[in-house]
Amino acid sequence: MTTPFMRAYTELLVATCHRRGAMAIGGMAAFIPNRRDPEVTEAALAKVREDKLREAADGFDGTWVAHPDLVGVATEGLRRGARTRSNQLERTREDVDVHPEDLLHLKAYLPGRRQRGRAPDQTSPSVIQYLESWLRGTGAAAIANLMEDAATSEISRAQIWQWCHHHTR
């Protein structure tokens, strides 16, 4: 969420919502707790806490979680960041200066260069398992301690398609 174009969209979202008096709702961190694995749970809570603090600092009024066990940490993060006010509508974020080109700052995706991060041998299994789950009628599935939904698989398969068509290493 901190890459430049993602950053540009979250800033613009808060500014646009608040200019119109609408609540700005943050996104979903995909990390989920695992009741049988305390280490996974702890790491997920830490990541979600950090994400919600960032959202609160940016001016978001509410947020979205992938698992009921995350409601506590998300509420805490937002309360702390928003200093106990129930919303941050008064923060109109007039400092935000985002232009269309900032939303399309995608130089990292030029042909032949793969962005740091997951490679096809890491993304393909999740997409296949997600599609299997989708075909069984379950549209959100916990795979490798991450909550996967159609959006995640959509991004992964588009990346694989682009890597294949642009001779990426």
Binding site: I128, E132, E154, W161, C164
Partner: protein
């Protein structure tokens, strides 16, 4: 790839085959036959590298459902 190899359809197909084989042996033959993994595998092939990219992953998936 993490090891520097170029990403090709053949390579992704091999990764998918390996993944299916691994899931098949870990879940057992009966559970595998009861799953939708083979349909998922062929859908993956259609959306991840074949021809023109389809607009949404779920569009070809709906045709598999019916």
């Amino acid at each position: 790839m993490t090891d520097g190899r170029e990403v090709t359809p053949e390579l992704v197909r091999r990764i998918a085959d390996e993944e299916i084989a691994a899931l098949r042996s870990s879940m057992g033959e009966e559970a595998f036959r009861g799953s939708h993994l083979l349909d998922a595998r062929s859908l993956f092939e259609r959306v991840a590298w074949n021809g023109r990219s389809s607009e949404f992953l779920t569009l070809p998936a709906y045709t598999t459902l019916s």
